[in-house]
């Protein structure tokens, strides 16, 4: 569905250090994918390359067997991008739907109404007068109702309050259609707990981790230990009362916390990858 081969990209033409060099990624099945990475690693840029808002300097990127840089209407009507920052027109939610929904042949009006109700969005109010979180929830409801096969959400929980974050997770999880890809980019890993699977981690211009959580659960286990771990630990983090340790799974063990996994991938990508490849079989 999304295929990226040896992609390279840098801002300001080729003069700066490339953000991506020989980046490859293949998303073959539907699902809610989490694109994780630290600030400035290029998550947003990668989403924009996938959605044709930026053009790669080298390599190849295809989405649904088309080049997104062509911005063909046939591809765009199967793709929705919810950016982190946006501005909405000074019209009501109802007017927005009547003007924008006809561009998406798969738009489901009744589904939109249900989602707007679930997310508590007032459709009679001018969108420009809503709070940032309300605007985001409106666009989220619209995105999920478009019936697009590709949904790109960039830092979707930024600006949402705690109940709205929970609502977001519930709504997105319930909305996934067969064969649909929801790609969520975030650095707020905790917000995505129990929602995203598989996990993709971007670091130093390349994909350093791409596994399903099932593989991670089979390969790794988490434990809390009072003393520094021996060398066999994949990763360890000092806490207030000891250490949180990530080890290769041997029998039972606490499932891995997403934030710890993310930190482990960033600090020791090779060790985590090796553990997942060997233990996930």
């Amino acid at each position: 569905m999304i295929s990226i081969e040896a992609l390279s990209f840098s801002y300001s033409g080729h003069s700066r250090e490339p953000l991506f060099r020989e980046l490859s990624l293949d998303i073959a099945h539907g699902g809610i994918y989490g694109l994780l990475g630290r600030n400035g690693t290029g998550k947003t840029t990668l989403l924009r390359l996938m959605s044709g808002q930026l053009f790669p300097h080298g390599g190849r990127c295809t989405v649904l067997d088309r080049d997104p840089a062509d911005r063909a209407p046939e591809l765009l009507r199967n793709m929705f991008f919810l950016p982190e920052e946006f501005r909405v027109p000074a019209i009501t939610g109802h007017a927005y739907v009547s003007l924008y929904a006809p561009f998406y042949p798969g738009f489901d009006s009744s589904r939109f109404t249900t989602l707007a109700l679930e997310l508590e969005v007032n459709l009679d109010q001018r969108l420009s007068t809503l709070s940032f979180g309300q605007k985001k929830k409106f666009l989220l409801a619209f995105a999920l109702a478009t019936g697009c096969r590709m949904l790109f959400f960039d830092e979707p929980t930024n600006g949402l309050d705690i109940p709205s974050k929970r609502q977001f997770r519930r709504t997105v999880a319930a909305s996934l259609a067969a064969g649909q890809v929801i790609l969520i980019s975030t650095h707020q890993v905790r917000d995505m707990e129990n929602l995203i699977d598989p996990i993709i981690v971007l670091e130093n211009g390349r994909i350093v981790f791409f596994h399903e959580l099932d593989v991670v659960s089979r390969a790794l286990a988490m434990s809390h230990e009072p003393v520094p771990p021996a060398d066999d630990a994949v990763y360890a983090e000092q806490t207030m009362d000891g250490y949180t340790v990530l080890r290769r799974r041997r029998g039972d063990g606490t499932p891995v916390d997403l934030e710890l996994l993310f930190n482990a991938i960033i600090q020791a990508p090779e060790r985590v990858e090796q553990a997942c490849v060997e233990g996930g079989r």
Partner: protein, 272 residues
């Protein structure tokens, strides 16, 4: 083809809906000013300086509304393309770049000119009616089918094409930068013309200063010279060529350049 026309119609509908409020507000303001002038004309018979109310005055006001308003509106046609917070809307809306361009082109050329023609006509009709009822006298109304008005619309489309390109090319201050670019272009053009002139009439100059005989020559269009015929023919051809380029080719050239430029546009400063 049907899909393309449908999408252009949807884009026009969307664009009109989003600018309806400010456009209605501007139209109401202009109509109010026109009414005020008509009432002043009716109340005082000693207002010969009021331009509104005469055919020439109507044309002047119409041209100002058309050129100043239209070129400012045109300069803002692709503002969202360069705005980080809004450009995803432009890029991701399911229509091709060419379709989005055509919609904006129609709105800022035919759409705007028609709106000003009809709007100003209706404003003068309304103002004339109200002034007639209230003051018993009313100046003439604007004729939208006047040849001067239609010529102004044609010239507007030519200027509009240049400002539309500026709107796509520049990221900020599109209107001012387009005007500055035109100024720079005409300064450069006048230097080139002066250099060519100096080379062609090299015998008629003392250094950089033209001799009196050159001015005489130009005044008579070279009548007493052996190359009078060819000069007349050449200047005729130049006039036709320049006329065709300006009247028929300039606008399509800039429209196509704008579409190409838009197609190459990407988001900028996307790092979050």
């Amino acid at each position: 083809m049907n899909g393309t026309l449908r999408r252009i119609r949807l884009l026009l509908k969307r664009d009109i809906a989003e600018v309806l409020r400010p456009v209605a507000l501007s139209a109401a303001t202009v109509a109010g000013i026109v009414l005020l002038f008509y009432l002043m004309h009716g109340i005082s018979t000693h207002t010969p300086t009021l331009v509104i109310g005469t055919a020439g005055g109507h044309q002047a006001v119409f041209r100002q509304l058309l050129y100043i308003g239209g070129l400012i509106v045109t300069s803002r046609a692709f503002r969202e393309v360069h705005d980080k917070a809004r450009n995803h809307d432009w890029f991701m809306l399911p229509a091709s770049t060419a379709e989005k361009f055509v919609a904006r082109l129609l709105l800022t050329s035919v759409g705007y000119a028609s709106a000003v023609l009809v709007g100003y006509f209706l404003a003068t009709v309304l103002a004339a009616g109200i002034a007639g009822v209230l003051t018993g006298s009313s100046p003439g109304i604007f004729n939208p089918l006047d040849r001067e008005a239609l010529r102004a619309v044609h010239n507007y489309w030519i200027m509009q094409s240049i400002f539309l390109f500026g709107a796509a090319y520049f990221r900020k201050l599109h209107f001012i930068k387009t005007i500055l670019s035109l100024v720079v272009f005409f300064i450069a053009l006048s230097w080139v013309a002066a250099a060519v002139f100096r080379i062609v009439f090299t015998g008629y100059f003392d250094g950089m200063m033209p001799q009196a005989s050159l001015l005489e020559l130009l005044r008579n269009a070279g009548k007493d010279t052996p190359w009078h015929e060819s000069l007349a023919a050449t200047s005729g051809i130049v006039r036709v060529v320049v006329g065709v380029i300006y009247q028929a080719l300039l606008a399509p050239f800039f429209w196509i350049a704008t579409c190409v430029r838009l197609h190459e546009t990407e988001v900028s400063d996307a790092v979050s």
